[in-house]
């Protein structure tokens, strides 16, 4: 699961039947501190998130199990982040040498 910021939405009338009634949102990928990497993708919303929210999403086949209709999606928002606590930064430092 990866963090992202909700940047926008997509409307599509013609879509796979299993996606009827589902929201498609544009995500900007971030790190766990919320800094955007510049990459973006579209994800189906399984939790009711909104514009600007800090969320996490799953990719690949695991995204399609987030919804009971098992739609053909490769990204799904599965949680809205309330907070992140990092006890150390993953800076590539040696833990033992």
């Amino acid at each position: 699961m990866k963090p992202a910021r909700v940047a926008g939405r997509v409307m599509a009338t013609r879509k796979d039947e299993s996606l009827i009634g589902q929201r498609l949102l544009i995500l900007r990928l971030t790190d766990w501190n919320g800094y955007e990497s510049g990459d973006e993708l579209v994800a189906v919303d399984a939790v009711g998130s909104g514009a600007g929210e800090f969320v996490f999403f799953v990719e690949s086949r695991d995204a399609s199990v987030a919804l009971s209709s098992n739609p053909p999606v490769d990204a799904a928002i599965v949680g809205i982040i309330d907070g992140v606590a990092l006890t150390e930064e993953p800076d590539g430092m040696d833990v033992y040498r």
Binding site: G8, A12, R14, K15, L19, L41, P72, D74, A75
Partner: protein, 100 residues
């Protein structure tokens, strides 16, 4: 999913039985600002998309989750035709306002 523009069709007479009678389209991935990004893909069309339309495609094993692609050798499927893109509160694409 990523955005893409349909830039052509692909015809292949000899192909795996699993994808016979499936429409294959050539798509160019684009950013949400509609700029081309990355390599073109061949996708199976599950929604009836046409030339120059902006679509959404899904990749990987998720691509086999449509009725059209169930149990087929397919790793990229067009699963929606985009009507409107709104990003940061601005509408960057509205299909109904496009000049044909």
């Amino acid at each position: 999913m990523k955005f893409a523009r349909v830039i052509g069709t692909v015809v292949a007479t000899q192909k795996d039985d699993g994808i016979s009678h499936r429409k294959m389209l050539l798509i160019q991935p684009i950013s949400s600002q509609l700029n081309p990004t990355g390599d073109t893909h061949v996708a199976i069309d599950a929604v009836g998309a046409g030339f120059d339309e902006i679509v959404l495609f899904a990749s990987g094993s998720s691509a086999r989750q449509t009725v059209t692609t169930k149990d087929t050798p397919c790793d990229c499927v067009i699963m929606a035709i985009v009507d409107l893109i709104e990003i940061d509160g601005n509408i960057v694409y509205d299909k109904s306002k496009q000049v044909l």
